[in-house]
């Protein structure tokens, strides 16, 4: 009877933040699909400090999920998508991990299976992305990111992905917690593929929660994975240094041509000199910061309040 079911153990991790209307239906549909097509599976819900009714509804739905092991990881405050997802993947025991970026299912559950089966063709990371999802801000972000990050694969907005244990281990062996997982996966040297679908238009607006943290992640990943920010700030500092040198030269020229008012040249020289010093110092500080940023993000950790296991 089981011969048509997938043998691999799969872990499905879903990120939730104030998703009270989506939590239960998502869990039911996901559990239904996994039950039908997989022999062994678990679901891990990570609640990123929701303040609405998400958690109780989730618990209720987990109790109703027949024959399915559901763990609910509750973070002790809102810590953002990346940290929350790490808390989920660290707990997962499967051979393949599904990472659902939100419980808004704007696709047919069968897509989950389609994405999973793609791993059979030798891909370690397969993602699903909604063709209709084209928010200007995220488009801009991905444009800048892909142009500058020089990763093996370009990245884009995704709804969920499946990742092999091999890829997860690889990310771990890079020795730091994944600060921006999509970029990590795109650059870990394993084969990646993306499946696009036309999502449910009615749900298009529902999927962005926690916008503040997302913007923060976007900024951080631009700083971490690209040198856009670094180049820009160093550029500005150098430009300002140059400008002060010009000012100094100008002041000297005025002095030599004896058209200066009493004291102008000395004032200008002191001013340009100290501005030069300030900008030079800034250039050094920016360089210094860029190194520190790397080290700080290495220590980025999540804080878990509780893990609840609900089964049968």
């Amino acid at each position: 009877m089981n011969d048509h079911k997938e043998e691999s153990f799969v872990s499905a991790i879903v990120y939730l933040h104030d998703h009270q209307d989506f939590a239960a239906p998502f869990l039911h549909r996901l559990a239904g699909l996994l039950r039908e097509h997989f022999l062994n599976y678990e679901i891990i819900c990570v609640d990123d400090g929701s303040t609405d009714d998400t958690l109780p509804r989730l618990r209720q739905a987990a109790r109703e999920a027949e024959g399915c092991m559901v763990s609910i990881v509750k973070l002790n405050s809102c810590q953002g998508y990346e940290a929350a997802m790490n808390a989920g993947t660290d707990l997962a025991i499967g051979d393949y991990l599904f990472e659902f970026d939100s419980p808004v299912m704007d696709y047919d559950p069968a897509l989950i299976l389609q994405v999973y089966r793609k791993t059979g063709e030798g891909y370690d990371i397969v993602s699903a992305s909604n063709r209709l999802y084209k928010r200007a801000s995220s488009r801009l972000f991905y444009n800048i990111f892909n142009k500058n990050a020089k990763l093996q694969y370009a990245i884009g907005s995704e709804s969920f992905r499946v990742v092999s244990r091999r890829a997860v281990n690889k990310a771990a062996s890079l020795g730091r917690s994944v600060r921006y997982r999509k970029a990590f996966y795109a650059n870990c040297g394993l084969k990646t593929c993306r499946i696009s679908y036309d999502g449910d238009r009615a749900l298009l607006r529902s999927r962005d929660s926690n916008a503040g943290h997302r913007a923060d992640t976007a900024a951080a990943s631009l700083i971490l994975f690209t040198d856009v920010a670094y180049k820009a700030s160093i550029g500005i500092a150098l430009f300002m240094m140059l400008a002060t040198v010009f000012m100094a030269v100008y002041a000297l020229v005025v002095f030599i041509s004896r058209r200066a008012i009493e004291g102008f040249t000395t004032t200008m020289l002191v001013m340009t000199g100290s501005f030069f010093g300030v900008f030079a110092l800034m250039a050094v500080i920016i360089k210094y910061l860029s190194v520190i940023v790397e080290m700080v993000f290495e220590k980025q950790e999540y804080r878990v309040e509780s893990v609840e296991k609900i089964s049968k």
Partner: protein
């Protein structure tokens, strides 16, 4: 009607240890056991770890106490203990309550062996932040059982199996116990029924222990050659352990999350499987989970995935079988952390003493209540 000095209910380690102890001080002893033989439940179906104290990195006093028990147990029952394997403890990099450094410091303070090993030699990258060679052993219940039977054979202790107790009454300065085909009385009764402890409490009219019950699965595994002489315990949180199971040549696999299948918070265990086992087991008369036709499906897929997530590929293991037993766990209020085994003197003259054990090697706690003045 049989008369004796002491009646002991339950033929697990605690019951048989007590029987031998009493016989050696000259008491006449009767042991009543509901199974058809001794050591059929928790004493056999458990992880078989002779605890040294490594499990208490957050309580130094408990660790120090465990060490004393460990030394004594290993000295007394050396013949059933497997020592020559490397017991490796590791601290999980994530979700662990204890870090590698804290574990190291704890072992130093407790003065128990702890030598640093490279985690990468055994575990996949990034999963454990420390690995340590420790000193801990495993005991073999079958050998221990035969030893007790042999020793008891040299005394006049009477062992009765297949006893279904139906009543416990106080008659003057004695307790009188009834079962289908027999009756016995004694001025001293020891209740050592472990998971059955509360049903005896109820029969005798005493307060139940405040416990919850977990139906537990121990998985037995065949392991690869290079794994034979190694045991792994990853802690301190939702992790696992895979280590030699006595001298059987098999390894036991257990996990904090998946070993317990179901939990009952009732005073006497109530589980849905009791309706499917053909009346072998009811809340008031717990059957043997290991022989039960309604025992749960194995959690092997979960436990093996968990262990494989951590262990390097070369440490291979295969499913060989499952053992099930009921674990009574004292609720927080009764736990004195430095004494995992609780002994209650419900009454004196006639005496009715109950024991709920936490560990195999704390069996010596019985001495003080058994000793005749």
């Amino acid at each position: 009607m049989k008369r004796c000095d002491k009646i002991i209910i339950g033929a697990g380690l605690y019951g048989l240890y007590a029987a031998l102890f009493c016989a050696r001080q000259g008491d006449s002893v009767l042991v009543l056991e509901c199974e058809e033989g001794p050591f059929r439940r928790a004493t056999y179906v458990n992880q078989a770890r002779v605890h040294m104290g490594y499990h208490y990195p957050r309580s130094l006093s408990t660790a120090l106490k465990s060490k004393g028990y460990f030394d004594r147990f290993v000295r007394d029952y050396d013949f059933c203990i497997l020592k020559d394997f490397h017991q490796i403890y590791a601290t999980g990099a994530r979700y662990s309550w204890t870090s590698a450094e804290q574990f190291r410091r704890f072992c130093r303070n407790a003065e128990i062996r702890c030598e640093d090993l490279a985690p990468s030699r055994y575990f996949k990258p990034g999963l454990c932040d420390g690995a340590f060679l420790t000193k801990e052993y495993t005991y073999d219940a079958a050998i221990l059982r035969d030893y007790f039977l042999e020793q008891l054979g040299q005394t006049d202790v009477e062992l009765r199996y297949g006893v279904k107790l139906s009543g416990i009454r106080r008659e003057g300065d004695c307790w009188e116990l009834d079962w289908g085909e027999g009756r016995a009385r004694a001025p001293f009764v020891l209740n050592a029924a472990y998971a059955g402890v509360n049903q005896i409490q109820r029969m005798a009219g005493f307060e139940p222990f405040r416990i919850k019950y977990e139906l537990c699965e121990i998985i037995l595994c065949d392991v690869s050659e290079n794994f034979r002489e190694i045991g792994f315990t990853v802690m301190d949180g939702p992790f696992f352990s895979i280590m030699p199971f006595g001298r059987t040549g098999l390894h036991s696999l257990t996990s904090v999350t998946f070993t317990p299948h179901m939990t009952s918070y009732d005073s006497e265990p109530v589980f849905p499987c009791q309706s499917r086992d053909g009346n072998l087991c009811v809340p008031g008369r717990l059957g043997n989970c290991n022989d039960c036709p309604a025992r749960p499906e194995s959690a092997w897929p979960y436990m093996s995935s968990l262990a494989r997530k951590y262990l390097r590929e070369e440490y291979a293991f295969r499913y060989a079988g499952s053992l099930f037993s009921m674990k009574p766990i004292l609720m927080a209020s009764e736990v004195d952390d430095s004494r995992p085994t609780v002994i209650r003197e419900n009454s004196r003259e006639p005496a009715f003493v109950s024991v709920l054990s936490g560990k195999i090697n704390t069996v010596y706690d019985l001495d003080e209540v058994l000793r005749n003045e």
